[in-house]
Symmetry: C2
Subunit: 340 residues, 2 copies
């Protein structure tokens, strides 16, 4: 690194949001990039991934990860270019993925950066279909839901980063796939572009009635990204021995306190159904295998993806708030800098 | 059979209950016992089992079994004596279990009666610890919850027909067992008589706080007989990779419409927990094996049971309403007639 670049910018959590995250819950801070020490690399962020789970990190209280404290840099995955290296593991110009958070630059120990195999897909896919969202879809569907050919599979947030992949892997596995999404455009996209068998606009249609119309013997598999009323509608339409994977509950993330809903656990008894929560990190040993399979399906044209790219690091908070409302269409990514 | 006994009595559902079952939801009817045909047996009910699931049968709408219609005989299991037989399978005096419902007498095809092995336990246990409740505890705990030595196991309705057996099988498997029950007497019973490690009176104690006091790393297994607020408290205290078996939701059975509760499915995600509904009938092929194991533990003094026996067929509806309120203490059984 020439000593010309000195300053880094990062988005911190200024305060915990109450309800929807507002601009003043975030603060853009500037500080000097620390000197790169032995064994470290300097990364320049190309793409920052924005994902609903980040809202959970802004909340206090126990979860599967330590919550952010005010003043902490927002967490998140990036794909970045190595700009300076004091390790033999990486050379300048290497493309890596890392969890440096919402930052333009990062100085980290080399083992916290993972090389990106550029032969598998475009760079941005390293935080999308070949990154955490793609792996979440892969393991959540295949390992938690055990889909079989002929099963009716429902996925919510169907055009989103995870949902779109879930539905397509469902099709590859021979399922009848119903997507639930929040606009007619999104519904058309998953049926016409991604090959889902049907789609339901939860904002304008009666989801439970539509399930009844579309399925003769109920829902065998539900990949739940949203929770709330869509999950309720699924619970009213469970097939015997059905499986529900709890991947996200985005309809609840901005809730103040715990929202109330129907007590419908009896439906699980009637259907002998299973609901299981999971985290993609639990399957870490097999991430590379999954990535190669996903890339193979992409090459074969069986797996498509759509990215919603926001240009400019300064727009990250607004884009993130929109993500929680479902404003995005496809995997939401912030382009922080250009490769060249 | 001498032709001296002519009349049968049966409890029918007169009307669907709204909320708690009331006396006028039931009607005692008298009718002639039909002639025993070739291949049939005449049964005299000794003990009638009363179980919470029967409330579900009184409800309309889809479930795992066809609902009763007004005028139908209440469903249920009995242990009975064969009083007349037109089949080689049974002789007069044989003791059998069958699902003839709330009746003093029953004429049924022989294949619908199952011989009771009297060497395994007293006659009444054929509808209790060695009947449907015992098998429910056995399969629900062992096959759905996969308890391991060292696990913290919570069971609700802990002194009841199923709960008391679940907790004791948990102890046999090396678990730390916490019972949740509705009175101090019931709590003392499960700890002092059944050997549970702790008990919580959900009517007088803050269940979630007590779980926190009693467990260092949360609840590994919850065998849910009740649903509602006790389930909510469990969801606040899940250990990683915990398993919840939905066996019953008795707190909800008298609910008018669907009660509301917290939307807490996110807790499953955080803990990577599993919730599964099940029915004892799904394990039918192994019922006899389970019965022998349960009887073995009884002989060894490791498995105790308590029966709450109501004398007199005419009291069945009142006893049943009490069961749904938790008035019973131990397995609720109606003694319909004496053996001799």
């Amino acid at each position: 690194m020439k000593n010309t670049i000195k300053m880094n910018r990062a988005w911190t959590m200024a305060s915990r949001p109450v309800g929807e995250p507002k601009p003043d819950n975030f603060k853009l801070v500037e500080f000097e990039i620390p000197t790169v020490q032995h064994g470290e690399v300097l990364l320049r962020t190309l793409f920052l991934s924005l994902d609903p789970y980040m809202r959970g990190r802004m909340r206090s209280g126990p979860s599967y990860a330590t919550p952010l404290e005010p003043g902490d840099i927002m967490q998140g995955e990036v794909v970045a270019r190595v700009e300076y290296s004091k390790t033999k593991r990486f050379s300048v110009g290497d493309i890596v993925r890392s969890s440096i958070g919402w930052q333009e630059w990062g100085v980290i120990p080399a083992h916290l950066a993972k090389p990106v195999d550029l032969s598998l897909g475009p760079i941005s896919t390293a935080v999308g279909i070949l990154g955490m969202p793609g792996l979440t879809a892969y393991f959540g569907l295949l390992e938690i839901c055990h889909p079989k050919a002929g099963d009716t599979l429902v996925v919510s947030a169907a055009s989103g980063a995870v949902g779109a992949i879930v539905g397509q892997i469902g099709k590859i596995n021979g399922c009848f796939v119903i997507g639930v999404a929040g606009s007619n455009d999104k519904c058309r996209y998953v049926t016409d572009e991604l090959g889902f068998d049907a789609a339901i606009n939860y904002k304008t249609e009666d989801v439970s009635s539509r399930f009844k119309e579309l399925t003769s013997s109920g829902i065998d598999v539900y990949f739940d990204n949203v929770g709330g009323p869509v999950l309720d509608a699924v619970m009213e339409n469970l097939a015997d021995s059905s499986r529900i994977a709890i991947c996200g509950q985005v309809s609840q993330y901005n809730a103040v306190g715990i929202a109330q809903g129907p007590r419908n656990m009896g439906a699980l008894l009637i259907a002998r159904a299973t609901v299981q929560g999971f985290l993609v990190y639990d399957f870490e040993r097999r991430h590379e295998i999954a990535r190669r399979r996903l890339a193979g399906w992409m090459r074969d044209g069986r797996l498509k993806y759509k990215e919603d790219i926001v240009d400019g690091f300064e727009h990250a908070p607004t884009a993130f708030a929109g993500l929680l409302r479902g404003d995005n269409f496809g995997k939401l990514i912030v382009r922080v800098s250009e490769l060249d």
